[in-house]
């Protein structure tokens, strides 16, 4: 205890001195963890910071399925890294547990925070205190294959604007041949579907996940409608058979293979396409709902936060502030074709003229993120009520029974 108090006094002093002096005597290394699947953009940001700052950050990628465990166990042991970038969906659990440093004063005083994407503000706030900011963003979108649209006699510049239009257009594309399919979704991947299927429901006015045992769960007609349209498309053979067992392996490659007309995907697809399939002719739009004009998206990606008990908290706080700066947003994110997390910078020189990125940026602004505890239980686990509902409704054909069962189990989990 005494040591940490001394540190608390000494650290700001040291940092202050380091700021005044130009020597590297006080420069220190910060440790930062990032989950494996967000390591690429995370590394771009950290490299940029390291180029322009004296305190260097050492980035460690941790396998996705180990990151939250390691974060929890290391905070408990008082041995956490200085900074952590993790799946935003775990924010509520960690905030409630008191594992993250309170950043409220610092962020409220920061003009850049005002234009921060609302979904990130929501997910990182607990009982009016703020514990993190969006770091490397992502959001779900709808993509369509313009070449197949042309072949099917559809206007390649007009995407579907409702779930019913998705079904209609998929029918026309499916008619092109045995090997061509109208629609795709990864049928055994809970995470993929909360990402690309739930926004269709949310856009249609549905409420998906309960915050506690008394909250509504799976409320709204849109849930039934979306599941039923999926079921019909599945039964009509508009979706490849392999979709049923896809646990995420073909979530991306199914569309890039070129024989699928319409699919939900994430903003990450854009840079992947640029690199691997620069000539692929496709369009990007927001995920629609039941009626024209209804749109949504699932805001994903990583947040950055400071675990409590780190030795370099002051510098870590500087990093959080820096993440929202123009430099980080434009040179770290936008320049690398990654979305910015500030709405006022969505219109920047790097995105100018790129319709796809702009559509994605709109999705980020319109998007939602569910603020719930135990997201893993309710959604991400391989036997979650969420994935069971999709599978029972779509592949077994029992839409109402599936919703009923999932609702009961979600409420059971939420009330624990």
């Amino acid at each position: 205890m005494r040591r940490s108090k001394m540190l608390a006094v000494a650290l700001p002093l040291a940092v202050g001195l380091a700021g005044l002096m130009t020597t590297t005597v006080f420069a220190q290394n910060l440790s930062m963890w990032v989950r494996e699947s967000a390591a690429d953009p995370g590394k771009l940001m950290v490299d940029l910071w390291n180029q322009t700052h004296e305190a260097q950050i050492e980035l460690t990628a941790i396998p996705d399925n180990q990151l939250v465990t390691k974060l929890a166990t290391s905070v408990r042991a008082g041995d956490a890294p200085d900074l952590i970038s993790f799946d935003l969906i775990y924010m509520p659990d960690f905030m409630r547990a008191g594992f993250l440093a309170d950043l409220t004063e610092q962020l409220q005083a920061d003009p850049n925070y005002e234009t921060h994407i609302q979904a990130y503000k929501d997910i990182a706030t607990y009982e009016d205190r703020i514990y993190g900011v969006g770091f490397t963003p992502d959001v779900s979108i709808l993509v369509w294959n313009k070449e197949l649209f042309r072949q099917a006699g559809l206007d390649p510049e007009v995407p579907p604007k409702t779930i019913y239009e998705i079904h209609d257009m998929a029918t026309q594309i499916g008619a092109l041949g045995d090997d061509t399919y109208g629609f795709y979704f990864a049928g055994s991947c809970p995470g993929c579907n909360i990402f690309v299927t739930s926004p269709l429901m949310v856009a249609g006015g549905a409420h998906i996940l309960p915050r506690n045992g008394e909250d509504a769960a799976l409320e709204g007609d849109a849930i039934r409608e979306v599941l039923d349209q999926y079921r019909q498309m599945w039964e009509e053979g508009l979706i490849p058979e392999a979709a049923e067992v896809d646990a995420g392996e073909n979530f991306v490659s199914a569309f890039t293979a070129g024989n699928v007309g319409i699919a939900g995907t994430g903003g990450f697809l854009l840079s992947l396409m640029e690199r691997q399939f620069p000539d692929f002719d496709y369009g990007v739009t927001l995920l629609p709902g039941l009626e024209e004009g209804q749109v949504s998206g699932f805001v994903g990606g990583d947040v950055v936060a400071i675990p409590t008990g780190g030795a370099n908290e002051e510098v870590a706080r500087e990093f959080v502030t820096w993440v929202l700066s123009d430099e980080a947003q434009l040179e770290g994110l936008a320049k690398n074709s990654i979305l910015t997390t500030r709405t006022d910078l969505a219109d920047n020189e790097y995105f100018a003229g790129n319709e796809k990125v702009q559509a994605t940026a709109q999705a980020l602004e319109a998007g939602y993120v569910p603020w719930v505890f135990r997201f893993a239980d309710m959604v991400n686990s391989d036997s979650s009520p969420w994935i069971n509902m999709l599978q029972r409704a779509i592949f077994d054909g029992d839409v109402d029974g599936a919703i009923e069962e999932a609702r009961a189990r979600m409420l059971e989990i939420a009330s624990q």
């Binding site: 494996e36 390591a39 460690t60 990628a61 941790i62 396998p63 166990t73 408990r76 041995d79």
Partner: protein, 298 residues
């Protein structure tokens, strides 16, 4: 290969009369061919892994793959050597934990075996059974209370902490083995020492220790191999990237280094993790198998 064939490294589990099997010359050839086929089948995975680790990274990632490398390179080993905190950090962690496990096992089991074999202790067999009983409790089930305990004692992320868990795993067997080793020593030896006026500590050190050395080697060998290879406890107890052991580090490599799984580097890691075990096994095979049998059969 030739190492394996030399008599010193063979598994010898006693002598068996050839007549038990018998058979004609033709059968003999058939048996020989079968043996060779089995040897090949068992070695192929390791050999392929070793060869893949020596491929240049691009070749190791080639689709479709080829069995043999076209050219040799140590690039994969360089990749794992600099992976995160550096392979040597992880190897050192694993070695330190294994060394501590050996130390703990010996420090606890040698005196316990001595006492159980040579002293009249009230409730002796009850105590012995209590120690053995812990073998019946799967340690996988005990990880949560141990984790909470170590977390409050600040023993997570420490070599000592993980070594204690590995000692829990090995202690029953070690005590059992040491008791047997002490019991196998003729009583005349210690009686002579008692006549000479030695204290019990002196007897233990001068008379017994040299004689139970083979048992101690077996205990150490098992402790080393089980500690070096143990995975789930290390996965839970070591949360800092600088405190990972080799198997935990390998899971990181297997899910990819910044996005792409580097198969060549993974196999290089596998080979590095396999070498110490295979090495000590080939060197001390005799102790390993005798330990296994004395632990298992009686």
């Amino acid at each position: 290969m030739t190492d394996l064939a030399s008599p010193a490294t063979n598994i010898t589990t006693g002598t068996t009369d050839a007549r038990v099997v018998g058979g004609s010359r033709a059968v003999g050839y058939l048996v020989g061919a079968l043996c060779l086929a089995i040897i090949a089948l068992m070695l192929v995975p390791l050999v392929l892994s070793f060869l893949a680790s020596l491929k240049p990274p691009a070749e190791a990632a080639a689709v479709p793959p080829e069995y043999l490398p076209r050219s040799l390179s140590l690039e994969n080993y360089r990749t794992v050597a600099t992976y995160q905190a550096g392979l040597w950090t992880y190897v050192a962690n694993s070695l330190v934990v294994a060394a501590l496990t050996i130390l703990f096992c010996l420090a606890l089991s040698v005196p316990a075996g001595y006492a159980l074999a040579r002293y009249a202790i009230p409730f002796k067999e009850v105590f012995f059974l209590l120690i053995l009983a812990s073998m019946m409790i799967p340690y996988q089930a005990m990880l949560t209370p141990l984790y909470l305990m170590f977390s409050s004692l600040k023993l997570t992320n420490t070599h000592v902490g993980l070594a204690i868990v590995h000692t829990i795993l090995q202690l029953p067997f070690s005590v059992y083995l040491m008791r047997n080793s002490f019991e196998a020593i003729p009583r005349e030896l210690e009686e002579a020492a008692v006549m000479d006026g030695c204290t019990s500590m002196q007897i233990l050190r001068r008379v017994f220790l040299p004689l139970v050395l083979p048992g101690m080697i077996t205990v150490s060998l098992f402790a080393f191999i089980s500690s070096w290879n143990e995975f789930i406890a290390a996965l839970i107890f070591m949360s800092r990237e600088t405190s990972f052991t080799v198997p935990v580090m390998l899971t990181g490599v297997s899910t990819g280094i910044f996005g792409v799984v580097d198969w060549g580097a993974l196999q290089a890691g596998v080979i590095v993790s396999v070498i110490p075990c295979v090495g000590v096994y080939l060197l001390l095979q005799r102790y390993y198998v005798s330990g296994l049998l004395s632990g298992a059969v009686k």
